[in-house]
């Protein structure tokens, strides 16, 4: 999956062009997008925000799934935990949502740490299923602790801003998405990231070369859960309504599908895949109202196809195109 690229002089011009300039162009596009005609409508802006939120979650999800090869099936529950923590603090103690989001992240990280410490000694599939159980338990707790969470009725979360305009929210979530990407990318490029990848590829070989798998796995899991909780805070304080449904397994599967279609172990693949996928699904949902579930059928089909025929996902496709272009120049 991770090809080591040897830069030869003839291809250096291309590499330089596809490095920073490409990133700046993408960043510029993200900033300018809400002003480019079809996207300057409020409803399309809401889709963009939804897409960026899923994109950021897919990055945090891929950080565990694509690097240490542990699929966090309770991911949505950690997102919900962050949202609920932040909302409850705001409602009970009047804490500003801006601070609450970070407290939510800390709460998700704490639960993530204990989940990881308990389950990540075990093999990958055990850890995935146990994370799922923890997610189900958190969902059950939120449903049943009605004094605290009002159960299935849900909570009315205070919004981040006073305005009803979606534009500022768009910039907030894009900033959060970029921050998530930069922070996680920084970790994966460091020597810690090397250890992650070694564990993901072969646990025994990693252990034999002196890497402590449990330590790095728990570290990775905790960081991923922290970002999940933080993004959950945005979810709560943007949509303003929080029900236990955010924690459902189907939401984990949605993020998982986006991350894997985008390409595991790339971080940016999932983020890139999120925008067209969310737009496709939202468009299908709003135009074909009498066909509920069609967009999820497509999700399932895409996930199946990617898993069998193209495990590298969109990231692999783009790397292939890059390779082709490099040969041409």
């Amino acid at each position: 999956m991770n090809t080591t690229e040897t830069a030869r002089p003839a291809t250096q011009t291309f590499d330089r062009l596809s490095g920073w300039p490409l990133r700046l162009i993408l960043l510029g596009l993200l900033i300018a997008l809400p002003f480019i005609p079809p996207f300057n409508r409020q409803d399309l802006l809401r889709w963009l925000i939804g897409a960026a939120l899923i994109a950021a979650q897919a990055i945090a999800f891929d950080f565990t799934a694509g690097y240490i090869n542990v699929v966090n099936f309770g991911f949505a529950a950690f997102v919900g935990l962050g949202g609920y923590t932040s909302t409850l603090l705001a409602l009970r103690f009047g804490l500003s949502p801006w601070i609450g989001m970070f407290v939510g992240a800390a709460a998700a990280a704490l639960v993530g740490f204990f989940t990881g410490a308990l389950t990540l000694r075990l093999r990958g599939i055990f850890a995935a299923v146990m994370a799922w159980f923890v997610g189900l338990a958190l969902l059950g707790l939120t449903r049943n602790l009605t004094d605290l969470t009002r159960g299935a009725l849900g909570l009315n979360a205070p919004t981040l801003l006073e305005t009803a305009d979606n534009l500022p929210y768009y910039y907030i979530i894009v900033a959060m998405m970029i921050l998530t990407f930069v922070a996680l990318r920084y970790i994966t490029q460091s020597h810690v990231g090397l250890a992650f990848r070694a564990i993901g590829q072969n646990v025994d070989a990693a252990r034999a070369s002196g890497v402590n798998p449990t330590y790095y796995r728990v570290l990775n899991f905790t960081v991923s859960c922290a970002f999940a909780g933080w993004l959950g805070g945005f979810y709560a304080h943007y949509y303003g309504i929080l029900t236990p449904d955010v924690m459902q397994t189907s939401h984990t599967v949605e993020v998982l599908a986006v991350a894997y279609i985008g390409g595991r172990g790339s971080l940016w693949g999932g983020a890139l895949a999120a925008f067209p996928l969310i737009f496709l699904t939202e468009w299908l949902r709003s135009t074909l109202v009498d066909l509920p579930g069609l967009h999820l059928v497509l999700y399932g089909l895409l996930l199946i196809l990617v898993m069998i025929y193209y495990p590298g996902g969109i990231a692999e496709l783009i790397r292939w195109i890059q390779g082709r272009l490099r040969k041409a120049t």
Binding site: L118, A128, V134, L303
Partner: protein, 330 residues
């Protein structure tokens, strides 16, 4: 290992008996009826993991298909019976629905093995366990929403299979449906056990689960065994769904609860341990009944989960150990 197994089973039986003495036989009977079906679900899940190394996330969807087929077979017949009553037909009709559902479940298993797993197996066996887990997650999303697309979200349920007065057993009203469901579970478990122990196909399945290469060497057709295993497992799940239609009306996500309960059981009993899964099915059902009785409805997911996590802390290979420990090393 054997002693730990018997201590656990003995303890569960003792708890069930003590509780029945204090609260009436209600808890015991309820856990037996649902426990039988959880045992069927979990045995299929454990079998597929043991033989094919696939942690099936779509196992609940076969349960759902079972409820759906049983509903579509049984409802027209029962409408026909309202106009022209016939005691023989009304006694047999439910079985037609249940048997057909089991067959459809088995065929669906064959199709999924041929169309998906065989393709993936041919392409890459790298990180097979994790990849098939995700693949089955995709299958689950596809089947759930495909059903939603075609048949909609309304509940398709029946009040009862057999219109007979409930029996009074130790002061508990016991409908015939429950008794038959329990009988089906018992008969199926015994038949399944005989199949695994006495027939050549069953022996071949056990051989593959112990050592794939060795099994191939003695001339076992791996592809055939894989196909039959998934067919058997999904048929068992569909059978459970069809038999419990009166408790679980059919709708697209009805398989979720049976899915995670089956997973509780399989994790508790040890992945790939089929006979442990049968015992575990009854133990988890007992746990759930006790939780909803003493702590409250809605908590029956939280308490067993917490308990399972605690148990795994001390016994990571599951309560009953596992003969196929090597499998999840991959």
């Amino acid at each position: 290992m054997l002693s730990a197994t018997w201590i656990t089973i003995g303890l569960a039986v003792a708890i069930a008996l003590i509780v029945s003495v204090t609260t009436g036989p209600f808890a015991l009977i309820n856990s037996l009826v649902t426990g039988g079906m959880w045992a069927l679900m979990a045995a299929g899940l454990a079998l597929v993991f043991g033989v094919m190394n696939i942690p099936n996330f779509a196992h609940g969807e076969f349960f759902m298909v079972g409820t759906l087929v049983a509903y579509f077979v049984f409802t027209p017949i029962s409408k026909f019976l309202q106009k022209n009553p016939s005691p023989v037909l009304s006694a047999v009709a439910p079985f037609a629905g249940i048997i057909l559902a089991t067959l459809v479940g088995g065929v669906l298993g064959i199709v999924i093995e041929k169309v998906l797993f065989q393709q993936l197996r041919r392409r890459s066996k790298e990180q097979w366990v994790m990849n098939t887990f995700l693949l089955t997650a995709g299958v689950s999303v596809f089947i759930i929403n495909g059903t939603l697309l075609i048949w909609g979200t309304e509940f398709k349920g029946i009040t009862r299979y057999w219109d007979v007065k409930p029996l009074d057993l130790f002061g508990v009203n016991l409908t015939v449906d429950r008794i038959v469901a329990f009988a089906i579970a018992l008969v199926t478990i015994v038949a399944f056990w005989l199949f695994m122990q006495r027939t050549n196909v069953g022996r071949a399945m056990r051989a593959v689960s112990q050592d794939e290469v060795g099994a191939q060497m003695v001339g076992i057709d791996l592809q055939l065994v894989h196909t039959l295993t998934l067919a058997l497992s999904s048929a068992l799940a569909a059978l459970a769904g069809a038999s419990l239609l009166f408790m679980f009306p059919s709708y697209p996500t009805v398989g979720l609860k049976p899915l995670y309960v089956a997973w509780y059981v399989v994790i508790l009993a040890g992945l790939g341990n089929v006979s442990g899964a049968v015992a575990g099915g009854f133990i988890v059902a007992l746990l759930q009944t006790l939780t909803s009785y003493f702590i409250g409805v809605g908590w029956e997911d939280v308490v067993p989960t917490a308990l399972i996590i605690l148990i795994l802390l001390f016994k990571p290979s599951g309560l009953f150990g596992s003969e196929v420990k090597g499998v999840w090393e991959q």
